[in-house]
Amino acid sequence: MATAEASSNMKKVQVRRYKPEENADTNYLNAESGLRSWLLTKDHKRIGILYLIATTFFFFFGGLLALGIRMELWTPAATFIEADTYNQLFTLHGVIMIFLFLVPAVPAILGNFFLPMQIGAKDVAFPKLNLASWYIYMIGAIGTIFVIFAGGIDTGWTFYMPYSSTTGGAVTFMSFGVFILGFSSILTGINFITTIHKMRAPGITWGKLPLFCWSLYATSIIQILATPVLAITLALVGMERLLGIGIFDPALGGDPVLFQHFFWFYSHPAVYIMIVPGFGVVSEIVSTFSKKTIFGYWAIAMSSLAIAFISFLVWGHHMFVSGQASLANMVFSFLTFLVGIPTGIKMFNWLATMHKGSISLKTPMLYILGFFFLFTVGGLTGIALATIAIDIHLHDTYYVVAHFHFVMVGGMVMAYLGGLYYWWPKMSGRMYNETLGKISALLVFLGFNVTFLPQFVMGAQGMPRRYFNYIDQFQGFHQVSTIGAFILGIGFAMVFYNLVKSLFNGEKASANPWNSRALEWQVASPAPPHNFDHIPVLIHGPYDYHKPMADFQLGLAQTNGHEPEMGTHIEADKEVEMKD
């Protein structure tokens, strides 16, 4: 059964098969109980759940703000709130969705939970730091929410100078809130990179690393390199307001366009912090639900790194009309096109994975199909916007709004929900209701398109973003969009209902309901307290569906002081060859 590959760095180890236990008595959820055991936990899975609870709350909060925005835009003049309130709504919507939901969602929830399991580790490299980053996140998040009561903030999530240094409200407070959130993100990045480098189980070579881990690896690189720059930029915004340091404020001799360079140097890569982990989820789900080896493993893995790298060189495409030199515009436009190529490559690889597969249209896969369409539209309109000339007319219009919602919601949120459904059995030990899952997936897809497709047209017609009043000709588009937003809202509420309901009366999940080959499915559901009581050994890649399941359940025969617990099925020792 061992690979016959002859190579100098192959060596033999004694392994046994550790079949996942069904209906195990202890799991990570019931191993300890009480609020204290949660708030002081160092278990990456529990920390993932803590993040899940927090981000879900902020997601729905940000969503309600979005509904407020859409309701206000039902009529061209004031509908139910004033202009200043509206400006605060879209600012908070942006800040909350980006910093409190999109950035942490996939890495901090799904990544925290599954990264160590996918590489056969018992935890991340620094569990205390992991818990600390959740607390830092909560402090930053509470600070951000507190801004509402401290006078609000109306700068837009981009904090453009000199508006942000002159307007009233709690801008200083907010900039320090986001500064703190940045550190949470940095610490998670450090933890993940170290974990991937140092904690992989025997046999998990770089070539057998699941693509979800590759995507988190690329994301973490961006996080650790870009976030410090955001942190210092926002600290400077705070200083600008407190001390009038004058670096960005033209009234004191500074340069406001310099702020935009600083800001986008982080915030463009941040787009990829949000979307790249989503790519990882897509790779996992497409392969599992097509029951087929992933097509172009290295192309997908390396394109994530390529995206991470190029993402640092394209920030200027947010500034095509800011008055920066034509030459700079040319270079940034060129590099922006380049970042489209690895993204396109991923798309084709996923489609090729489905080709000749055995496709099962369960809820997670429906989300991924939705992702394919929405992300294609989002990506291609990105190509349109990368074309400098086209961007001139479309910049800061609803076309851009629609574009980034297609990428962020259509891409990232669809992948996130797909991932949440996919891994839900492992996280909760329960199966969700498939029918309800499918209906809500369709509703989300429908609602999303009704909301944002009209915005492309409106934007091309010239409707600027961040407008409280608008000219009458756009009213029809706005009303369709508002109706869509409510459909979308109902869809998300149904997702929430379905998952929460499964906790109470969902069918008990088996260890591996999707017959996946990935390592996280080779343990009990819900996951055991320390993931593995043995040291797992991998002899095949995580997408080798042509190999028998038993091959994916191997572990070192000799345990490191931990004897396998009672009830674990152990087959006779075998000897396998594996790469060191």
């Binding site: 060596k11 180890v13 580790a121 018992k122 935890d123 991340v124 490299a125 620094f126 569990p127 730091l129 940095i186 990045g189 450090i190 933890n191 990179i193 170290t194 974990t195 480098h197 140092k198 904690m199 992989r200 025997p202 046999g203 650790i224 390199l225 870009a226 976030t227 410090p228 720059v229 942190a231 210092i232 930029t233 400077l236 200083m239 600008e240 001390l243 009038g244 340091i245 004058g246 670096i247 004191l252 001799g253 500074g254 310099l258 600083f262 320390h530 040291i535 050994v537 070192l556 000799q558 345990t559 490191n560 002081g561 594996m578 060191d580």
Partner: protein, 218 residues
């Protein structure tokens, strides 16, 4: 990484999720290196602002630099380099299992770091006395340049952020000192000393960039 089982007994400092001490040590070290990378990027933002303004107003930087006291700047440079040396000696002592020397070297490092901060304090108060405050509070009229306030904003921001790092370093080192006095570190386990040392070298290196960039412009 494979098959490193039961070669060591399970020592007290080893966390359950690591296979052995070696894995734990190399993970901690790598984590610190990555963190230092983020620190460089964070200071990098300020260095970028510095470079841009210096390119725009080279004459301002030459003029304003004369207001800074080169001698005290140089003394501080020597003090920090000295402390980097003593922290390296603390690590060496740990490797050689000289438990008492760990504490002594850490003590000297803390003292040097405090000397640095005291000198910095006198430099700042002297400037405040002249009316050289950051940004809009700037009232000094000894420099004939409309953007002199921005030079000093950068000066205070960069040396201030560096000062915060020195202060954090003093805190970390005091904690190490306390634990080394308890005898927690030896040649088997000295990871915290090693990675704090790495951090301290970074703080030192940043100063080595700050010193010529502000004090030695001509």
């Amino acid at each position: 990484m494979a098959n490193k089982t039961s070669t060591h007994a399970h020592p007290k400092h080893l966390y359950h999720h690591f296979i052995d001490s070696e894995q734990q040590f190399s993970a901690a070290k790598m984590g610190m290196w990555i963190f230092l990378g983020t620190e460089i990027l964070m200071f990098g933002g300020l260095f970028a602002a510095y470079i841009i303004y210096r390119a725009w107003y080279p004459e301002l930087f030459t003029m304003a630099s004369h207001e800074l006291n080169t001698i005290w700047g140089a003394v501080n440079t020597v003090v920090l380099i000295g402390s980097s040396l003593t922290v390296a000696m603390a690590i060496k002592s740990a490797q050689l299992n000289q438990k008492r020397n760990i504490a002594i070297n850490l003590g000297i490092t803390i003292a040097l770091a405090c000397v640095f901060m005291v000198i910095k304090y006198f430099e700042y108060t002297h400037k405040f006395h002249l009316g050289i405050y950051p940004g809009e509070f700037y009232t000094f009229d000894g420099i004939e340049h409309p953007k002199a306030n921005i030079f000093f904003s950068l000066y205070y921001l960069m040396t201030g952020l560096h000062g915060i790092h020195v202060t954090i370093g003093i805190g970390l080192m005091s904690w190490l000192l306390w634990r080394s006095l308890k005898g927690d570190y030896d040649s088997e386990y000295y990871t915290p000393v090693e990675i704090t040392g790495l951090y301290w070298h970074l703080v030192d290196i940043i100063w080595i960039f700050l010193f010529p960039l502000f004090y030695l412009i001509d």
